[in-house]
Symmetry: C2
Subunit: 140 residues, 2 copies
């Protein structure tokens, strides 16, 4: 299904603002915040309001174009939907961030499906804990 089809079938419209938000997420490296997207969007169209950015991110997620994740407790981060899925391990001690391969997530997800019938999206929120380094270092 193309973006045009998705728009039509959901009754949504393609506006200048929506186009700019989508492009900003698509051209970003990874995991951008709404604030960073707004900044980029305002470079071309300075009067665009923050609420417009938030509403468009939500609309684009419904259209299947972008996805949001939670890497830390504070800020929501966005990325394009067609990038490869992966999880994140965040260390509570040193703050380091490690990517987890989809295959490892799949194994965990399989367990939840087998035991609870639950089809989990383990990439949605980062997993917090203590990383190898910080576990092995004797003195904190």
């Amino acid at each position: 299904m193309t973006l045009q089809d998705a728009l039509r079938s959901s009754g949504k419209r393609m506006t200048v603002q929506r186009r700019l938000v989508l492009d900003a997420v698509r051209h970003a490296r990874h995991h951008v915040t709404a604030e960073e997207i707004a900044k980029r969007v305002r470079a071309k169209h300075p009067q665009i309001d923050a609420s417009t950015v938030y509403r468009n991110l939500q609309a684009l997620e419904e259209l299947g174009e972008v996805i949001h994740t939670h890497l830390d407790d504070r800020v929501t981060r966005w990325h394009r939907a067609d990038s490869h899925p992966h999880g994140h391990l965040i260390c509570l001690t040193c703050g380091s961030e490690t990517e987890v391969k989809p295959v490892a997530l799949a194994a965990m997800a399989k367990r939840l499906r087998d035991e609870h019938g639950f089809d989990a999206d383990l990439a949605h929120s980062a997993i917090v804990g203590i990383c190898r380094q910080c576990r092995l270092v004797p003195s904190q």
Copy 2:
């Protein structure tokens, strides 16, 4: 280590406000929001500010008395540290919330430890996905 010892060794003090916040979390059933704690605290001491509640929850977490978790994308929830740990599965379709036994979390955590050396706290954030019911129902 008693609460007194923890306070002393960290240079923290026990104030009327801190006592009330701690009691509110301890007497709550499960997973209370800061707002609910504030409401309870203000019943006895009406002029206590929201920021005082937030700062005390943070301080009490550092003292090991309370813990916060994220059940949905929006609101942080708090509970006493000595309650039994468990995870949460949240269905994105119907919104249902299922508790996961510690043993299931442990198995998943073991996998992360074996493969990444990462000691995960899988109870910190709820796991989102699609529950058994919603997966099996043909029409959305």
